[in-house]
Amino acid sequence: MPEDGQKLISHTSGGFLSRSRTIAPPTWSRWLVPPAALSVHLSIGQAYSWSVFKPPLEKALDLSGTQSALPFQLGIVMLGLSAAFGGPLVERNGPRWAMFVSMVCFASGFLISALGVATSQYWLVVLGYGFVGGIGLGIGYISPVSTLMKWFPDRPGMATGIAIMGFGGGALIASPWSTQMLGSFGTGTGGIAETFLVHGLVYAVFMSLGVLLVRVPADGWLPKGFDPAKSAAKALVTTANVSARNAIRTPQFWFLWVVLCFNVTAGIGILEKAAPMIQDFFANTATPISVSAAAGFVALLSLANMTGRIVWSSTSDLIGRKNMYRVYLGVGAVLYLIISLWGDSHTVVFILCALGVLSFYGGGFATVPAYLKDLFGTFQVGAIHGRLLTAWSVAGVLGPLIVNAIADSQKAAGKTGPDLYTTSLYIMIGLLVIGFLSNEMIRPVKDKYHEPPLVTVDEPGTLATPQGGS
């Protein structure tokens, strides 16, 4: 029996999907793990290109815009719920199991949707893509997080930045690919069904790389030259572990929740209305923006969003997580202020500031797992991350609500141009300042929340002391 105060973890052998079957041999390269994570994130990132299917679905099945948005909306709700509640299962069963579940759900979602469109049963599309596929989104999103951080304890920001950049890249791949497929198969029910079918099959094959390739490091494994004690000497970085259950009882979790929520709200504020916003800002100037130029601007923002995920997240490994969020929130607020004061003075000013805000938006998403790891350790960081993603769900409603409601009310009051957005820009600045202060409140987690030392049982009767439990 383990000594008092120690926790017993059993690594029993199991099937192909079990954690014990994914323990890497000593010669395994950790650089094989990011492609495994990317194969999942590049696939599930497809969710953000759902809008490609909206017009054909509306025409083929006689749906309203609200109805055709339902599968995506339910998918995002399920992403949040399954990430929040499925986290402990992912931690217990390991990344291969999680990636397999994600692959089955995400691909099945498309196959059920194909059946739904082929038989003109739209509820099957909502159930398939939204409910079943949405579970795949949530489990897939958190599946590689704690594994990547165990392989890259020296560069956790960079490692999770790669994966989360993949989520941004997923829509870049899916959007033109789905459009081309709809062009080839047609936009009637038959064509849409075939497109869904091909998506389901291709994503199943593509994601299987992650299932086959993912490995967890053996207990006690550390990269060459890495000294955990040295790393823990940095402010806010702990070598202790906090369970997901305890993490949500700490003020640090909720401060970080506010930080993520308001950083995302501020980014979505621009992302949601990017095309009409840039056109409205320069409508009454000598350099009005055309519809196609506005589409190019949206593409540029996507690039900034994606690049910010890897660049800023990697930077956080060098300057520390708290400082990185000071930049996201503090500089972000200044950029918003410049947009509101001088945004219409020149297109370059507007575009550069918007790019900064969007790169911070992406960076905020990608850096948060490493911030959680610093505060709560690697023990159940995937599950804690899943619970923190509820901040994303709230921001997803809050951001568009603020910008759209205010723009509509200003339009009704007879205002035009940049005046439509001034109030919402000031609200975003206020939210970023609250986020900044919330980040300042984050201190190391108190010892009373830490888990007792871990003891691993590989074979009955043998005890060892590992560095992490999941």
Partner: protein
């Protein structure tokens, strides 16, 4: 097999794995850049 040979034998797997994810990603970025050019031509 020695540790070095085993590591070397993983090189093809490494190339395959990165190409597997890298090629679709490059396609997505290429399509994005095409769209981006509209900002300067539009």
């Amino acid at each position: 097999m020695t540790e070095q040979t085993e590591t070397a034998s993983r090189t093809p797997l490494m190339i395959l794995a990165w190409l597997w994810v890298g090629l679709p990603f490059a396609y997505g970025v290429y399509e994005l850049l095409l769209k981006l050019s509209q900002l300067f031509s539009g």
